[in-house]
Amino acid sequence: EPEVTQTPSHQVTQMGQEVILRCVPISNHLYFYWYRQILGQKVEFLVSFYNNEISEKSEIFDDQFSVERPDGSNFTLKIRSTKLEDSAMYFCASSVGDGGFLDTQYFGPGTRLTVL
């Protein structure tokens, strides 16, 4: 069964450094998402991406964040200058994006980001 994959599984970085989290969505999916989950808390929406542009973004997704689909398979989340509060599990998700509200989002295993 096709699945969303994410790399790395765990990233440790120093405050102020740039990090890039990578995701490979399911191949026939057109909508991609990034979510964040701080340890023990709820999942928070960051951004959705469709047709090579941001579709929606939350208040969390400020100028420090950017997303890109650099090639036909990868979908990346870049944090330019990491802060301690960016430490969280970051989930990538994808959906078929067929325009219907039955569109189901499938999640990757997550990347645990630790900012020191």
Binding site: K42, S48, F91, Q105
Partner: protein, 111 residues
């Protein structure tokens, strides 16, 4: 805007039943239920659309009360594998694809 889930946590003995609720103050188009086990990604369970439909999968079912803007997840004859945190994700009538997530309900099943 965030849906309210209740209860926050529930502890059951294997074989007992549980109900988890997800309520919104805004008009919903759909409610998506996910289960997340510790250290893992959320796994999709089912979608409920407006219209009051009910869905089921094995011994897990859900309903959507459009009048109350509330969805309920029913777990009957719970199994140890049901343990985890259950999240509802809501899609608003005036939204695009964004899912707004509840805070989660932690379910612990004891043998």
């Amino acid at each position: 805007q965030q849906p309210v889930q209740s209860p926050q946590a529930v502890i059951l003995r294997e074989g007992e039943d549980a109900v988890i609720n997800c309520s919104s103050s805004k008009a919903l188009y759909s409610v998506h239920w996910y289960r997340q086990k510790h250290g893992e990604a959320p796994v999709f369970l089912m979608i409920l659309l407006k219209g009051g439909e009910q869905k089921g999968h094995d011994k897990i079912s859900a309903s959507f009360n459009e009048k109350k803007q509330q969805s309920s997840l029913y777990l009957t004859a719970s199994q140890l594998s049901y343990s985890g945190t259950y999240f509802c994700g809501t899609r608003l009538m005036d939204s695009n694809y964004q899912l707004i997530w509840g805070a989660g309900t932690k379910l612990i099943i004891k043998p």
